[in-house]
Amino acid sequence: MRLSKIKLAGFKSFVDSTIISFPSNLVGVVGPNGCGKSNVIDAVRWVMGESSAKHLRGAAMLDVIFNGSGSRRPAESASIELIFEHVNLPQYPPDSEIAIKRQLTRDGQSHYFMNGVRCRRKDITDLFLGTGLGPRSYAIIEQGMISRLIEAKPDDLRVFLEEAA
């Protein structure tokens, strides 16, 4: 299983519908300060079920919806879709492709989709069970987390270990 593309629309600073594809296993993301690199990582964690606004650097979940710029009006909704290829999970034929999507509108309604069909958040988290992936997975290291990990108290480090291994 690998991540083949991410589709962003109205999510944080990605107001226009955008597709970023990842054809290889070594992808570098580069750009000046504040251009939106970490927002891509936030997008991946959000669609995998992240439910805390604080963990997405916002005060409320609506902070993930594009809130305007000098020349653009705020967006009505945010949506992220991840497309995986070479998926080998028991409930799917070998080497299939799966798309998971999450959408949030200004009225606070948040919906999840799997291959275009509405589903629950639990269906998404169940999909990743046992793969090591998830919104707070050790496989996604946010900016600044490395130094927080080291300064962590022994009890917190134990929790990190129990969740990860």
């Binding site: 990842f22 000046p32 990582i41 270990l161």
Partner: protein, 157 residues
């Protein structure tokens, strides 16, 4: 769950013992239980960079701490490899020698794990097979842009 936690500790230690010297070019590190209650006690990292004495993690330098944390994360990764790994500027506190060892390790693990990494460091960018540039040519609006290494280095300016 007592047995399970001891197993976790042992297997992570097994993997950390191999991973730490690959990143530091020597030395060793391991996890220790703080206290003797397997069910409740916390865990501490004991690290010894090459040529130095054993020390608790707090006496280490900023770069040594970051590299030790990376060794721990990658050690867990070897045990329980997720399909992809996303890294956000984990190489920022490292000097060029350590960035070199870090990026060489990422490259060698990319055989069976997909890495998506954000970095300002040219040495790390050089291992990428594909570079995705993100720009805000229109203020406040992010857009991806295809870049090659020379252009990426230029983007930093």
């Amino acid at each position: 769950t007592k047995v399970r936690f001891q197993e976790t500790l042992d297997s992570v230690n097994g993997s950390l013992v191999a991973m730490f010297p690959r990143l530091f070019g020597g030395g060793q590190a391991h996890l220790e239980l703080v206290g003797d209650d397997l069910l409740k006690s916390g865990v501490a990292i004991i690290a010894r960079p090459p040529g130095k004495r054993n020390s608790t993690i707090h006496l280490l330098s900023g770069g040594e701490k970051a590299l030790t944390a990376i060794a721990l994360v990658f050690a867990i990764f070897e045990l329980n490899p997720a399909p992809f790994c996303m890294l956000d500027e984990v190489d920022a506190p490292l000097d060029d020698t350590n960035v070199g060892r870090f990026s060489a390790l990422v490259k060698s693990m990319s055989g069976n794990v997909q890495f998506i990494f954000i970095s300002h460091n040219k040495i790390t960018m050089e291992i990428a097979e594909q570079l995705v540039g993100v720009t805000m040519q229109e203020a406040g609006v992010s857009r991806p842009v295809a870049v090659d290494l020379d252009k990426a280095v230029g983007m930093l300016n």
